[in-house]
């Protein structure tokens, strides 16, 4: 096992002793202490572990950490701007009081952020498609839809 070099939220990490098949999820959580990326199913069904890899949303439970080497990994802890300002989605999530238990919300936000990055004015059905892979047992879907529209509007206002 060679040294694994990972770039997470703009920081470089050199990690030893990472098995070839160890998913990015467990490296983030157990080795880097970035526990905001959550485990819900381990089989790509729930989306709780969604992170960005080179800007695209992926399920961290399915991506071997070694496969992420050389690409920028962004987790929920890195979604806010480097100066600490919240991403408009995070602000919308707070204002619309989206979360109930909140466990799924890191994944929901990461899927939503990837959506807005490529489609700044998504329709309801764009949202449906982009977030269909993120389960919420508490049933916060209606507020998720509203918050995404609101964040898109805020982004349009300030210009991106």
């Amino acid at each position: 096992m060679s040294t694994l070099r990972l770039e997470v939220n703009g920081r470089d990490h050199a990690l030893e002793d990472i098995p070839e098949d160890m998913p990015l999820l467990w490296v983030l959580r157990d080795r880097l202490g970035l526990v905001g990326t959550r485990y819900g199913c381990g089989i790509a069904e729930c989306g709780a572990c969604t992170v960005h890899l080179g800007g695209s949303p992926v399920r961290a439970c399915q991506v071997p950490a070694h496969a992420a080497a050389g690409q920028a990994v962004t987790t929920i802890e890195g979604l806010a701007r480097p100066d600490g300002r919240l991403h408009p989605l995070q602000q919308a999530w707070i204002d619309h009081d989206v979360a109930q238990c909140g466990y799924c919300q890191s994944g929901q936000l990461m899927s939503a952020a990837a959506l807005l990055a490529r489609n700044p004015a998504p329709s309801d059905s764009d949202i449906d498609t982009a977030l269909a892979g993120n389960l919420c047992r508490c049933g916060t879907y209606l507020r998720i839809r509203r918050a995404i529209h609101d964040a898109a509007a805020r982004l349009a206002e300030v210009g991106t």
């Binding site: 467990w26 819900g40 381990g42 238990c101 466990y103 047992r137």
Partner: protein, 765 residues
């Protein structure tokens, strides 16, 4: 008695004990707890000195006797109860109950802040410690949270407010009754003076604490914070991925553990290749735990401890166990189904109610209707699989637990019994839960983590897999209802018979959630009514699943009522209102009972808001259902369309609900929306299939949760009656399935009588 038989009996007794705690209702005399004092009188009552009004004072000095052992409170801190602290540092309110997404960490402190007249933006909410002395019982269950704390928390806020007013009045040399409060300040209107609570804390802390029961509370008209929309206190931490949840716990040197149990509940370890496991990379140890003979605490199993979750998960793949299943559960859904179907034709084993002359009424009825309704066993599937972190400090003989549990105090006693420790040797930190829904009323993961921690050095986090979670749940019981109804020539309901087939684990009592009482069957409002029950044996433990019992009884009973009104050719709303009759409490002096007037009001409101009776295009229809549970009256109208006779789209669900005054409107709406979605989720495709005691479904691929594209619009309308508030975490769920299924019938003429609806080939799109 076999070991597993006794474990089952002990487990059942523990589940009944939890049920007892959860179902113990707050004090009964809560009828108009919202006082009707007018504003002037309220101000007089809360004035302290001068005006001749005497408030009873206890002799207890503030801040000393009441200071919690785990926090030092100096004279400069106003802490008349453990609920709050006011000092120059600011205003801190303690969130005492466990947070699982039901919103109590925000809603409950709001109740205190309201009576305190604190500016919400200045309040810092902190999760409290565990102490029955300071806070009474701490748990989240049975939708009893808000009603249990409603008075004590209001009093806690009011007591502090009265003391702050007294301190200001003394300082200014004015009469307390001439002072008012707002936004964390005491004001003296005639002199225009104003002082902040934080500046008064030190002086107020030196005053005697008034008797909480005699401090006047605000009249409802004076509420400024309660009833508004307040966003969750943890929202920022949640959206930035801060470690809040049980599974987020990290400690220096922490190890990770899995606990592998027999897939058929009650099985024991006969042998396992532990030497192979111990030699695997990243694994520290692997050992067998025998279990303590209680299925709700520690089942027998194999602990694997290692460097990280992945190493432990990989080791499990290599684990080979021979289970001793001599006394394990052998539940089999296919066999059970066949047996239940056979029984629906016969009489019930017990008769729980027999009112009027059912046989004669059925014989004399102009029209009779018969139907069999059934629902499958389901799992909780809260999104965070079970987890708990524990650290046994061997040198001090004490243990520390970081537990996401709905019953933290019970967890302490569970672990005390398990490890033979004094409760004082146990420190439990309450952590946020990634969903509860009743699953985390049972503390098996806490017991497992404690038992593992007892065997190793340093802290250890136990993390269940999704598969563990689904295979070792405390289930929502399945059930069957063979229903018969009779209508007279005018289309009025005159007869109702329900043969309810449910399950028993101990051979005597029904499992939890399988206990339909006659007064919960709305059929008892019909003159001739009979409820019979037959219990089938079932060994896999059943527990508390959001709105236990109600969540499924509603489907059968409200569906069948619609069958009757349809057979009578009558409007369903009008039919239901007729059955409810005159406004009255069904159990006089019990405000936890159904009030037919409140029921009628929510039905009419839901109908009005949804445009009941309007014409809709072909294949599209409205369905109506009502249910009463957890002291809440809830009616819903679902608007659905059906394509190809099987694909159902739920467009909108209109909810009307009376739970008394609303505490946090945003949280309340969230619970309503969430319950609708959760109800649809369970209705659509959730089902556990037991085979030889094993659950076949393991993960979300075969146990689907509703996804965003399937979510309908939900609008919620509250009747904020003057009855004391009741909880909202559960009661909106039961009417969802019958409202949708009734609408489906009207839309396409096919009656749904099985849950999940996928059993009849229906799909939610």
């Amino acid at each position: 008695m076999s070991a597993a038989g006794s474990a089952r009996r002990r487990g059942e007794a523990s589940l009944q004990a939890i049920a007892h705690e959860v179902l113990t209702r707050p004090e009964a005399g809560l009828r108009l707890a919202v006082s009707r004092l007018d504003r002037r009188r309220f101000l007089q009552l809360t004035g302290l000195a001068g005006g001749g009004l005497m408030l009873a004072f206890s002799l207890r000095p503030a801040g000393a006797a009441t200071a919690p052992a785990r926090e030092t409170v100096g004279a400069e801190t106003l802490a008349p109860s453990a609920y709050l602290r006011i000092s120059t540092e600011g205003i801190v309110i303690h969130a005492t109950q466990p947070e699982c997404g039901q919103g109590v960490k925000t809603a409950m402190p709001m109740i205190i802040a309201e009576e305190l007249d604190a500016a919400w933006s200045e309040v810092e909410v902190r999760q409290s410690w565990i102490s029955e002395t300071d806070f009474g019982r701490q748990f989240a269950g049975g939708s009893t949270g808000i009603p249990r704390v409603w008075l004590p928390m209001r009093r806690a806020g009011a007591v502090a407010r009265v003391m702050l007013v007294a301190a200001a009045a003394e300082h200014w040399g004015v009469a307390a009754e001439d002072c008012t409060t707002a936004d964390s300040h005491v004001l003296h209107a005639s002199s225009g003076r104003r002082v902040a609570y934080v500046a008064l804390a030190d002086a107020a802390a030196r005053l005697p604490v008034p008797d909480a029961e005699r401090v006047a509370l605000k009249p409802r008209e004076a509420f400024r914070l309660l009833g508004t929309r307040v966003t969750g206190v943890d929202n920022t931490a949640l959206v930035t991925g801060q470690p809040l949840f049980g599974s987020d716990q990290q400690l220096p040197g922490m190890r990770h553990a899995a606990y592998v149990k027999c897939p058929a509940i009650g099985g024991r370890v006969r042998s396992a290749n532990l030497d192979v496991i111990r030699a695997l990379p990243g694994i520290d140890s692997a050992f067998v735990l025998e279990g303590n003979g209680d299925l709700t605490e520690l089942k027998p199993g194999i602990a694997i401890v290692g460097r990280d979750t992945w190493a432990v998960m990989q080791a499990r793949e290599a684990l080979e166990v021979e289970w001793d299943e001599t006394s394990a559960a052998r539940d089999d859904w296919a066999e059970t189904l066949a047996e239940a179907r056979r029984l629906t034709d016969s009489q019930g084993a017990e008769r729980l109610a027999d009112q009027g002359d059912l046989d004669a009424a059925l014989a004399g009825a102009t029209t009779t209707v018969e139907a069999i309704y059934s629902y499958a066993f389901v799992a909780h599937a809260q999104l965070e699989p079970q987890t708990c972190t524990a650290w046994y400090h061997a040198d001090e003989g004490r243990i520390e637990l970081w537990a996401p549990t709905q019953t933290p105090q019970r967890a302490v006693s569970n672990v005390a019994g398990l490890l033979d420790l004094d409760e004082s040797a146990i420190t439990l930190h309450q952590l946020r839960m990634g969903g509860g829904f009743g699953r985390r009323l049972v503390n098996d993961p806490v017991c497992e983590a404690a038992a593992i921690a007892r065997r190793i050095d340093g802290p250890v986090k136990l993390q269940w897999t999704r598969e563990d979670d689904m295979h070792h749940d405390y289930l929502r019981a399945g059930g069957f209802h063979a229903l018969k109804g009779g209508l007279d020539a005018e289309g009025r309901a005159v007869a109702w018979q329900n043969h309810f087939i449910t399950f028993t684990a101990d051979g005597r009592n029904p499992v939890f959630g399988g206990n339909l009482r006659p007064n919960e069957d709305l059929g008892h409002l019909i003159a001739n009514f009979r409820l019979e029950r037959t219990q089938l044996p079932w060994a896999s433990p059943c527990g508390f699943w959001r709105a236990p019992g109600a969540s499924v009884f509603a489907f059968a009973l409200q569906g069948f009522l619609h069958e009757l009104s349809t057979a009578a050719g009558r409007d369903h709303l009008e039919f239901l209102l007729e059955i409810l009759g005159e406004p009255r409490w069904l159990e006089p002096d019990n405000t936890w009972a159904l009030h037919t007037g409140r029921a009628a009001d929510v039905l009419k409101l839901a109908a009005e808001q949804a445009g009941w009776g309007r014409s809709l295009p072909e294949g599209r229809a409205l369905g109506l259902a009502f249910y009463f549970s957890h002291a809440a009256h809830v009616a819903q109208v679902a608007e659905v369309s059906v394509e190809d006779g099987q694909r159902i789209r739920v467009h909108e669900v209109t909810v009307a609900c009376d739970v008394g005054p609303i505490v946090n409107l945003s949280g309340a709406e969230n619970q309503s929306e969430g319950s609708v979605i959760d109800g649809l989720s369970a209705m659509a495709g959730q089902k556990l299939t037991h085979e030889r005691g094993r659950v076949r479904e393991s993960n979300f691929d075969r146990y689907p949760l509703l996804r965003l594209p399937q979510a309908p619009r939900v609008s919620t309308h509250f009747i904020q009656s003057d009855w004391s508030p009741s909880g909202l975490g559960e009661p909106v769920l039961p009417p969802v399935a019958p409202a949708v299924c009734n609408a489906v019938y009207t839309a396409c003429g096919r009656r749904i009588r099985q849950l999940p609806i996928s059993e009849q080939g229906f799909r939610l799109i």
